[in-house]
Symmetry: C2
Subunit: 211 residues, 2 copies
């Protein structure tokens, strides 16, 4: 297997999921931080629409996390269950994470990350947190069926959702105690070496305390 290279932004949830996936496969991926000047130039050449992550495998260049994750799943082990139904469920969780959790959390992250605390728009933050929490019952219910969302092992579902929850924690949004299965599931991932090693250092410290 040729060496994979990833043009990467450590706290971007779309890059992060690719790093988790590669770690779950015990697959080596060279992470190139997009903010380094020499990486920046390569990135501008390879990603005409200026998105991260970018996966480079020889002369194959993929610029969207969806196709990247499917490519990893097809050329390495794990990541998706065997049955088409469970595979569909795993992929649906990715979409759910982006459309429901991600869309809400983004408001909180952007507000808190980009401004000093006394300028935070508290209404925007409350709205984001509310949207995030409204997405939890569906996940809690699904975790009734097993330790992970689509079968007995972590799949693309966890690759995509873990960064959402880790970012929430990082920005002060905890999962309330009336979602015990989600809390257990997060802890299951925090003690899993693939999830931990793929997380940005700043976040890793927060996760360790949580577990």
């Amino acid at each position: 297997m040729s060496a994979l290279r990833l043009i990467d932004k450590p706290e971007c949830p779309f890059c992060w999921r690719v790093r988790i996936a590669a770690a779950l496969q015990s697959r080596e991926v060279e992470s190139l931080d997009r903010s380094e000047p020499e990486v920046l130039a390569e990135w501008q050449r390879l990603s005409p629409h200026r998105s991260v992550p970018v996966l480079i495998d020889g002369d194959l260049v993929l610029t969207d996390s969806g196709p990247i994750l499917e490519y990893l799943a097809e050329t390495g082990m794990a990541l998706l269950p065997d049955s088409p139904r469970q595979r569909a469920e795993a992929r649906s969780w990715m979409a759910y994470g982006d459309n429901v959790l991600g869309r809400s959390m983004r408001e909180v992250v952007f507000e808190k990350r980009d401004k000093p605390e006394d300028e935070w728009d508290q209404e925007r933050i409350r709205e984001g947190v509310r949207g995030f929490l409204q997405g939890l019952p569906t996940i809690e219910k699904a975790l009734d069926n097993g330790p992970f969302l689509a079968g007995g092992q972590p799949t693309l579902a966890e690759c995509a959702l873990f960064p959402r929850f880790a970012l929430a924690l990082t920005y002060g949004v905890e999962v309330p105690s009336d979602f015990p299965r989600i809390r257990q599931w997060i802890k299951r991932m925090v003690v899993h070496p693939a999830f931990m090693s793929a997380s940005p250092e700043r976040v890793r410290n927060i996760l360790v305390e949580y577990a």
Copy 2:
């Protein structure tokens, strides 16, 4: 194979691509128009985040076009090439269609569809058309390698991109003559029964004239 049902909105490009995919597989899918009152109630129950398309296969309910298309590809013929690289390319074209062409064309469609002509924001339309046209050289170049974007047969790439171009035509945006390969490729799809049968009737009439 059990009968598939699709909660559908005829001119939605995400629904449309599912209908094309099923037609390419010669697979029967019952289309349920979301605007019918009895469908509306089922839709509200099945799609908590109110999105279309929704695919129903027995007790499996999928509410996002990405997982739906992958599910069709895994449980039926055609739609994706055999090699992981070409499969990755086909999936990347879907993302390209959404992020580049779709994002621009949406501005044109929303502006023209929702207002009388004398109230159109011409600047918004120009900007949308400009974005759409800027996305064409990459496609023209890719069509250098064959009649379709990822190999010798239509794939998920064409399922996702055809509706973008058909909608562009419907809203008065033609592909300029300096993109001869794209124009040939569109005609190849227009004369293909799967693409034609999956298109909304109003659009079909415009396409017939184009070919």
